[in-house]
């Protein structure tokens, strides 16, 4: 399969939707073990960035380059992606257990992992209920389990705290810590500036499709965000 994922890089990536420029000449290299917070106002290009990294969107210009022991093509990179999008990516007629069992089967992951992940996201008691009856927070937790079930090496979390209560947020931060320790690349797109800064090894800020700040270290997200947006304010 080409060995463990070492890095994913956007090289001057631009993405248009019709005439609208969603992301403009964005260059960003993510390496194994990094947890990167992506901040920015609505319409900044954050989800487009996730789509490009997940390879479900192709850049209009520039390229996405992934390296393991060798360079990976887009289908090889895609197979290593776990993605929690602003859509749940779940099928509401299925039960939580059926949804995870389906994804596990399609990836070829042992069914014991379904039990493990249901437990991990605290959904065991509700596992046999239809997803359509779940609360927003429960769906979000199941979406996390769905994304992490295949042990992805590039984890994209788009607004992962949406709908989560305080206890579930703690579970999420713990999961991210585990992913970091396991050497995964984790991208967390968030508006939650109160997220613990020590969780992130790096934070970037997007504004109007442009990368306007890129900082390493445990700087508070709100301070970085405010400073970055102040710099680009007209």
């Amino acid at each position: 399969m080409g060995g463990a994922l070492r890095s994913v890089e956007l090289r001057s990536a631009t993405r248009f939707f019709g005439r609208h420029v969603a992301l403009y000449r964005c260059s960003l290299k993510l390496v194994a073990g990094e947890v990167v917070a992506v901040l920015g106002p609505n319409g900044a290009g954050k989800s487009t960035l996730a789509g490009l990294l997940a390879t479900t969107l192709a850049p209009s210009e520039g390229e996405v380059v992934a390296a393991a022991d060798r360079m990976l093509d887009s289908s090889e990179l895609r197979a290593r992606v776990g993605w929690v999008s602003h859509e749940s990516m779940l099928q509401r007629e299925l039960t939580g257990r059926e949804q995870l069992a389906l994804i596990a089967g399609l990836y070829g992951v042992a069914s014991e992992r379904v039990v493990f992940w249901l437990e991990r996201v605290r959904l065991t008691a509700d596992a046999d209920r239809a997803i359509g009856t779940y609360s927003r927070g429960m769906r979000q937790r199941l979406a996390l389990a769905r994304a992490l079930l295949s042990e992805p090496e590039l984890v994209l979390l788009d607004e992962p705290t949406t709908g989560l209560d305080a206890a579930s947020r703690e579970v999420l931060w713990e999961l991210i810590g585990d992913l970091r320790a396991a050497g995964r690349i984790v991208v967390v797109i968030t508006h939650d500036l109160d997220a613990p800064p020590e969780l992130f090894s790096r934070a970037v800020v997007l504004s109007q499709g442009r990368l306007v700040a890129d900082r390493s270290g445990p700087e508070s997200l709100s301070a970085l965000y405010a400073a970055a947006l102040q710099r680009v304010a007209p």
């Binding site: 290009g45 789509g51 990516m89 099928q91 059926e98 389906l102 089967g105 070829g108």
Partner: protein, 238 residues
């Protein structure tokens, strides 16, 4: 943290996706119920319109059967990706290696099974109402329906994927499906007429089979490309 995996075969992935769709359909009954109701209404209309003689009924019945099949196929295929698109579930499936091809065959077989079920009921219904003994001359009509239904589903499943991102897909699918399937519908109706007249329907069967092969090949090729646009390209610029 690494977990051992056994890469599933294409057949295993198809089976998992097919099981999922059948399970959901058994729970909701949406597609089968609407298709059966539609078929019953259509047959009733023909009953009230009335065939003047039994011979006319016998000769008109294959046309009714194929017309109903075509309309039911539209009902079935337009719903192909509705459930997966609702919360973006199709995007999660497209991340899985090999799942795009598996999804095509699973959806094709799923649509075909539903259509075949409704066609079976139609066969009994039309046969009973118009006193047509479909099986008096062998099983040619049933075989033509099976093969023709497969072709309809191959075209319809591909179109459903191609048009999945369009707002008016329920309108556009039949507009594109019917012209594309004209050769298939003609061949199917001709094979059925030949069969009930006790004539050889082999040439028409071969035509249907060739159509099926062509559109399964094309569909498999187009399907992945189509879904990439529909499921992956979320189109927002957050």
């Amino acid at each position: 943290m690494s977990v051992p995996r056994r890469t599933p075969t294409l057949a295993q992935q198809v089976w998992l996706l097919l099981q999922k769709d059948l399970r959901v359909e058994m729970r909701t009954g949406e597609v089968v119920a609407t298709s059966l109701l539609f078929s019953a209404v259509l047959v009733s209309l023909f009953v009230f319109a009335g065939f003047s003689t039994r011979k006319a009924a016998s000769e008109g019945a294959p046309g009714l059967l194929w017309m109903a099949s075509a309309f039911v196929a539209v009902l079935v295929v337009t719903r192909t990706f509705e459930r997966e698109r609702e919360d973006g579930a199709v995007t999660a499936l497209l991340l899985i290696p090999g799942a795009s091809t598996a999804l095509f065959f699973a959806k094709l077989v799923y649509n075909w099974l539903l259509l075949t079920l409704v066609q079976g009921v139609l066969l009994l219904l039309v046969g009973g109402v118009f006193s047509v003994d479909w099986f008096a001359h062998g099983y040619a009509v049933a075989v033509a329906l099976l093969l023709g239904g497969f072709g309809l589903c191959a075209v319809g499943t591909t179109l459903a994927a191609l048009l999945a991102a369009m707002r008016l897909r329920e309108v556009i699918v039949p507009v594109v499906l019917f012209p594309l399937c004209v050769p298939l519908l003609i061949a199917g109706a001709q094979a059925s007429v030949a069969a009930i007249r006790g004539q050889n329907s082999g040439a028409w069967m071969v035509t249907i089979l060739l159509f099926d092969l062509l559109f399964v090949g094309l569909g498999q090729w187009l399907f992945g490309l189509a879904l990439e646009g529909a499921g992956g390209g979320e189109g927002d610029s957050e």
